[in-house]
């Protein structure tokens, strides 16, 4: 059974979705919720088991249909994918708990769609096949379309339309890129492709470069890099709170895909430097403009959406550095920023409900019903997201800053630090408007329910926990980064040593194909 564990993160949510649809309308909402939470919690356990398995350092493969790579599809579990899987399910627990307080019944099939979304995410993190990645991207996208517009309403449909059309164009480009890559390399398995890319003639390398760059455009759209991020603030601000919180991981799927391509498929190929250049400048520009957007935001939700963008810019600029230290740093920073941005979306919803008409707009409003509770939650989340101690954001930022070397610092340090300052200024304004500058009289509606609170606390707990276990966690991310730095090991594991030798020969002399 244990060898099948790798397939469970995909199978389990699928099963959950099937059960939930089949039982829709047949069992009370309460039981539906219970089922959904239970399945999500089970997923966390499965993923933790996978995490402990992957932390041994061995890359595990799972050949679907028992067809060996590169002919069949394989699932690939290394430290990176285990980390992303665990992160996703941990985030999902918080979101689903929160949704159980009533957001789920505003439209149809919320929990089933939610589980399918998880299935898509997990599949994207696990698959070792590039076309299969496309399929899982489509699953997670379609689920995200539905979830984004869950409950309907003008803002959601408007933002949703943009999101859908842009991503459909993106999917078309994805297929073109796949066609180019398959045409040039003749394979779809990532490790096999890496091996073949390494032994291509320069003529075909140019084609691979074109395909690779096109692929990166698609991933940049998902990750929301400049100039492809403009859809994000509207979409995230309009989405229902638990969905917006879950979407905190969506940009990271793009990041993950880019990281995977850069460290495995294109490692050492001529495409890699071009991609790095793009990621570096675009990431920095995203960081800068997102910081500007944080200051400009007039609504807390929009503000948080820009915070998501800040983390995207930071992470992708970090990816461009292509050093194990930088990767270790960004993998430490990533879970924290994802979970905290998620928590912030949930907190914003709670604040909005208790402020009546003023909602989450940054204007004076009536006093919150549970001022100190929400104020405390907001404070913790704000400190964490701004990268201030004693939360893990500060440590993540420290690691990132340290990982940058040489002239790259000149850009990265000021931008990252200034973005932190902008965050702080914006959040302190928001906090003082919400919690200090209130009119007399309270809005007595929207009392925080126990499930909502538990969802928020579950996510917020990551901030102190990542500090407390900073040592082991950073050791793990460093090990992950080191594993990523050795694509030959993956190739050898999957396709045999001869294949790896072929690839490693290339990796030693980058730019010169035999």
């Amino acid at each position: 059974m244990s060898q099948h564990l790798i397939a469970l993160p995909i199978v389990l949510p699928m099963l959950a979705a099937l059960v939930l649809v089949l039982l829709a309308g047949r069992i009370p909402d309460r039981h539906q919720r219970l089922l959904s939470v239970a399945f999500t919690a089970l997923l966390v356990l499965v993923n933790l088991a996978l995490l402990s398995r992957a932390s041994g350092g061995e890359v595990a493969f799972y050949a679907l249909g028992n067809w060996q790579a590169p002919f069949g599809i394989v699932l690939m579990l290394d430290r990176l994918s285990a980390l992303m899987l665990t992160l996703t399910s941990v985030l999902a627990v918080g979101c689903v708990l929160f949704a159980c307080a009533g957001d789920d019944t505003r439209g149809s099939y919320f929990h089933a769609l939610f589980q399918l979304q998880l299935m898509g995410l997990d599949g994207a993190f696990l698959t070792g096949d590039i076309f299969n990645l496309f399929v899982f991207f489509e699953i997670l996208l379609l689920a995200s379309y539905a979830l984004l517009m869950h409950g309907g309403g003008k803002a959601r449909i408007g933002a949703g339309l943009h999101y859908v059309v842009l991503n459909m164009t993106g999917s078309a480009l994805f297929l073109v890129a796949l066609g180019v890559l398959y045409g040039a390399t003749g394979t779809l398995n990532m490790a096999d492709m890496a091996r073949r890319v390494a032994s291509l003639s320069s003529d075909q390398t140019a084609l691979v470069t074109a395909g690779g760059l096109l692929l990166i455009v698609v991933f940049s759209l998902k990750a929301a890099l400049l100039p492809l991020y403009f859809w994000l603030p509207h979409a995230y601000a309009a989405a229902p709170a638990p969905v917006a919180a879950l979407f905190a991981i969506m940009t990271k799927v793009g990041l993950y895909a880019i990281l995977r391509m850069q460290t495995l498929v294109f490692a050492g190929s001529p495409a890699a430097p071009a991609i790095d250049t793009w990621l570096w400048w675009s990431g920095l520009a995203t960081l800068a403009l997102a910081a500007v957007g944080v200051l400009a935001a007039r609504d807390l939700r929009t503000l948080i959406a820009y915070l998501v963008l800040i983390s995207v810019g930071t992470l992708l600029a970090g990816t461009a550095l292509q050093s194990p230290a930088a990767n270790a740093a960004l993998l430490y920073y990533l879970p924290h920023t994802t979970l905290i941005c998620g928590a912030l979306f949930l907190i914003a919803e709670l604040i909005g409900r208790q402020r009546g008409k003023a909602g989450t707009h940054l204007v004076r409003g009536r006093r919150l019903y549970q001022r100190f509770l929400l104020g405390g939650l907001f404070l913790v989340a704000a400190i964490a997201v701004a990268g201030l101690p004693p939360m893990a954001g500060a440590l993540g930022k420290l690691m990132l800053l340290q990982a940058v070397e040489g002239s790259a610092r000149l850009w990265f340090w000021p931008l990252l630090l200034l973005a932190g300052l902008c965050t702080l200024v914006a959040l302190s304004r928001a906090g003082s408007v919400f919690f200090w500058a209130s009119y007399r009289g309270e809005v007595a509606t929207g009392r925080v329910s126990r499930t909502q609170l538990s969802g928020v606390l579950w996510l917020l707990a990551s901030a102190p926990l990542l500090v407390l276990f900073g040592g082991p966690m950073s050791a793990f991310t460093l090990a992950t980064a080191q594993q990523l730095a050795q694509p030959q090991a993956v190739i050898a594991e999957l396709l045999g040593d001869a294949a790896a030798a072929q690839a490693s020969q290339f990796h030693e002399i980058p730019g010169e194909a035999p």
Binding site: V135, G186, D203, V208, L295, G471
Partner: protein, 907 residues
């Protein structure tokens, strides 16, 4: 009072360590935390840390005691005390940290605590503004400090404080040294309110007075000074360092003192005086001689005692009289003798009058200012300016004491009508802390060797980095220059006080600016600018975002193409024939007309369907029968869907497009088309290494089917198909959500205004569809069964079935069909998925991975040998999912045209 337990306990622990530290030892504690980061939980107690820790805990205890009586009963003192304790802990962390990064963590934490405490009365707008300003300025400094620390750690090779302090020479020799000094000093200056970052401190006075006493005079603002002292061995002893500190210190000293003299608000006066004294300490650190460093540490101690006492006194006066306006207060001596004593003692120390402790450290400053040559030949002006500063400080101290206790209050006419203030000394809880601090400042002045010298000496050792100095503190040094200067300063101060009105008139010539307002205005300007920029970028226009996406794709694919040596590859081209040319021409024509006729929507759809047809023909021509079948059946369903949808969309939209826009779009579209064509051409004319042979070889023996495409779909890459039917089902579920609660514009007639035919279900269609249904079902079964060996399969079969069923709905209406076909399509789709999933999971029972197929020849009685593959079961799942999902989408859309709306309660 229970809150006092923790600080007292800490104080006791500190005192246990004190003797060792005073002897020059350094007590440390090291725990590894994040070795990767160079961050350890390392603590260090040396002389400097001891001095600060004593101040933090000692004064902290007194102030916590005081706060118990200060806050009124209805205030949330639990929250207040929690913030205070948070602050106390983080401040202690700064002073005992033995790791630069750890120090920084605590440093930022004090900024947060200070923000919360200044904003404690957040319902007042000045408290909010003050809090935000303090947070912004100090954390901006904190970020600069962080950058400085990172560079410093790199130059020193470690973040451990001990190693950094020992690596002074290496640091001073590093290229980054000027940058490190600049960044660290920005951090220190913002925290310690040095000019030009001083402006936040007076506005921090919106905090409750115990906070001002504790954070903004005795401890937190000293963190910057502490940092400079702490890093003196590593960074100090260069011209750059001395120059920066001396000049900043002098400027701040004079600036603060001048504004303190003019200030009307009691706490504002104390705040400016704090700024001035912090400048004094910075100046001493800049002078850098051993004695100057000792004087700096000594003054840190002295200032903390007398200034905290003064704040506590100011708090009492505010608390009892309800005002802090110096002009309205006066003649309080007779009513508040104890408060008066407190203020007079501490005020005298602030003025630097003998025999108070302030006198001692000021004498040392005056002495050192005469010795220095920091400014080269210009060094002469230092003693003069210091003298001026000392004069001003005498003047404002005297003014404070005079106005509060002896001068008559100035009152407006209305105020005179009110009865005179009747106030009295407060309860001992409020008085005792202040009085003991004031007494301490007197005692230290009288017995400096006994009370202060060992501590100051140990601290100054830490600042110097070597334990050489033997400190002698006495009140009487004999007749010398410093004494003369002190006397001069006192005389000057008295004169300045007498001429106060004239000075104020001079000051009034320069229009005063409220720092908090201009700061807020600056922030607002920044926000406005960012709003402008953001709105420019995010116009909310999908067309623009699409254009950007396409531009990116164009650029990226272009980069690859440019690197290609020749477009035509080695494999070359195959020959053309007439059919191909005709087909291509038709496709091109249809595609272009579809694009151009987009405003005549029906035409556009028709042209689109022609393209679809041509594409399926292309599939036929190029040996892909499966694809052709699939494309064709998808085409049919898509057309039905689009025409249904067209019903709800405007038939002919208004033309709203500029010529330039069209040109831009044409250029973009042509460019991407060209790039795609070139990529495609380049690929087609090159040899392909492929894994195809494996599939062709293994299809029959390994997959049990002759139709390789189908075997790939259900076996080799069955997982893709599994995902694909998930997408389909998801689409069904998702559209269900979209159609749920939909309000539609229902046009009553077509675009020409002709009403729809009242005949809802045409008879001919009804008859034909009924005839077609069994036929279609039969075809589906056939296509399904043969799929594994010949073109076909579950997907195509599913689509054909779905189309036939949809025809029934169209011909007979929803209600009619519903009663005869009482099936819930979501259930059908989901059971399809379930079948596929179960097939996949079934292989686990036999110990094989997910979706492993098995096939075999089974011998059944009567029928004989048949071949069965589990892949067939999987394909059945595909079939069901396709039927269910397609019908879910189409029937629901069709149904909203009638009165039925989809709802969750499907039967």
């Amino acid at each position: 009072m229970a809150t006092l337990v923790a600080p007292l306990l800490a104080l006791a622990l500190l005192l246990i360590q004190a003797p060792a530290v005073l002897a020059g030892d350094v007590v440390t504690l090291q725990l590894a935390w994040m070795p990767l980061l160079g961050l350890d939980l390392a603590l260090r107690l040396d002389g400097l840390a001891l001095l600060f820790a004593l101040l933090i805990l000692g004064i902290g205890t007194l102030i916590l005691y005081y706060s118990g009586d200060y806050l009124s009963a209805d205030e949330d003192d639990g929250r207040f005390l929690a913030y205070m304790m948070l602050f106390m802990a983080s401040m202690l962390g700064i002073v005992v940290a033995d790791n630069l990064l750890l120090l920084w963590l605590f440093w930022e934490l004090t900024s947060i605590a200070s923000f919360l405490l200044i904003g404690f009365w957040g319902s007042h707008s000045d408290a909010r503004r003050g809090a935000r300003m303090a947070l912004t300025v100090t954390s901006a400094g904190g970020l600069a400090l962080l950058a400085g620390f990172l560079l410093l750690g790199q130059a020193a090779g470690s973040f451990a404080l001990g190693e950094v302090l020992a690596a002074g020479d290496a640091i001073r020799a590093s290229d980054h040294y000027p940058l490190i000094v600049a960044l660290v000093l920005v951090g220190a200056f913002t925290k310690s309110a040095q000019f030009p970052f001083h402006f936040w401190l007076p506005h921090a006075m919106a905090a409750p007075t115990p906070v001002s006493a504790y954070l903004h005079s005795a401890t937190m603002v000293k963190a910057g000074v502490f940092l400079m002292a702490r890093l003196n061995p590593a960074l100090g002893d260069t011209a750059l360092w001395s120059l920066c500190l001396t000049l900043t210190g002098l400027t701040t000293l004079l600036y603060g003192a001048w504004f303190a003299l003019l200030e009307r608000d009691l706490k504002g006066l104390l705040a400016f005086s704090t700024v001035s004294h912090l400048g004094l300490i910075t100046l001493l650190l800049g002078l850098g001689s051993p004695l100057a460093l000792a004087a700096a540490t000594f003054h840190i101690l002295n200032h903390a005692t007398f200034k905290a006492a003064l704040f506590l006194g100011a708090g009492i006066i505010d608390h009892e009289t309800g005002t802090r306006d110096l002009d309205r207060l006066g003649a309080l001596w007779s009513m508040m003798p104890l408060t008066g004593t407190l203020t007079l003692l501490a005020g005298a120390a602030m003025a630097g009058l003998p025999p108070f402790n302030g006198f001692l450290s000021k004498e040392m400053l005056l002495g050192e200012s005469l010795e220095t040559d920091v400014l080269g030949t210009l060094s002469v002006i230092i003693p003069l300016l210091v003298l001026l500063g000392a004069t001003l400080s005498v003047a404002y101290s005297l003014r404070l004491m005079w106005r509060l206790f002896f001068a008559a209050p100035r009152r407006s006419r209305e105020q005179k009508a009110l009865p005179p203030m009747a106030v009295h000394d407060p309860a001992p809880g409020l008085l005792a802390p202040g009085l003991s601090l004031a007494a301490l400042s007197l005692l230290v002045g009288l017995f400096p060797m006994a009370l202060a010298a060992p501590l100051v000496q140990a601290a100054s050792w830490a600042v110097q980095g070597e334990a050489t100095l033997e400190l002698h503190l006495t009140l009487w040094h004999g007749l010398n220059w410093p004494l003369a200067m002190s006397l001069l300063a006192i005389a000057g101060g008295v004169v300045a006080l007498r001429q106060h009105r004239r000075l104020a008139q001079i000051a009034a010539l320069f229009s005063p600016r409220d720092a908090s307002r201009s700061f807020e205005a600056a922030v607002l300007r920044v926000i406005k600018a960012s709003l402008w920029l953001t709105q420019r970028l995010e116009t909310g226009s999908l067309q623009r975002y699409q254009a950007l996406l396409i531009l990116c794709a164009l650029a990226m694919a272009g980069i690859g193409l440019v690197k290609l040596d020749t477009l035509t590859g080695a494999a070359g081209m195959q020959s053309l024939d007439a059919m191909l040319v005709l087909g291509a021409a038709l496709t091109v024509f249809a595609a272009i007309s579809s694009a151009l006729s987009h405003r005549w929507r029906l035409v556009s759809i028709l042209m689109l369907s022609v393209v679809g047809l041509m594409v399926s023909l292309a599939f036929v021509r190029f040996s892909a029968p499966d694809l052709a079948l699939t494309q064709l059946s998808v085409e049919v369903v898509t057309m039905i869907l689009m025409i249904l949808a067209l019903f709800f969309l405007p038939q002919r939209p208004p033309l709203l497009v500029s010529g330039r826009r069209i040109l831009r779009d044409l250029v973009l579209a042509t460019a991407l088309g060209l790039v795609t064509a070139m990529l495609n051409y380049a690929l087609l004319t090159r040899e392909r290494p492929a894994i195809a042979d494996y599939f062709l070889r293994e299809s029959v023996p390994g997959g049990g089917g002759a139709n390789v495409v189908n075997v790939i779909l259900v076996d080799f890459r069955g997982f893709d198909t599994f995902g694909e039917i998930t997408v389909l089902t998801l689409a069904g579920l998702a559209t269900f959500g979209l159609l749920h609660g939909l309000k539609l514009f229902m046009p009553a007639g077509n675009v020409e205004g002709i009403r729809w035919s009242p005949q809802r279900y045409p008879l001919i269609l009804a008859v034909i569809s009924q005839l077609l249904l069994p036929l279609a079902l039969l075809v589906s079964v056939n296509i399904f069964l043969r799929g594994h060996n010949q073109p076909g399969g579950g997907f195509v079969a599913g689509l054909i079935t779905a189309t036939a069923l949809i025809l029934q709905y169209m011909a007979r209406g929803h209600a009619w069909t519903r009663t005869r076909l009482p099936i819930s399509y979501p259930i059908v789709a989901v059971s399809g998925l379930a079948v596929a999933l179960a097939t996949g999971l079934g292989s686990w029972l036999f110990g094989y991975p997910f979706l492993t197929s098995a096939f075999g020849h089974f011998h059944l009685p009567l029928i004989g040998d048949i071949e069965l593959a589990t892949a067939m079961l999987f394909d059945l799942g595909v079939f069901l999912a396709v039927v269910g999902a397609t019908l879910m989408i189409l029937v629901n859309l069709g149904r909203v045209t009638t009165i039925h709306r989809p709802s969750l309660e499907e039967p």
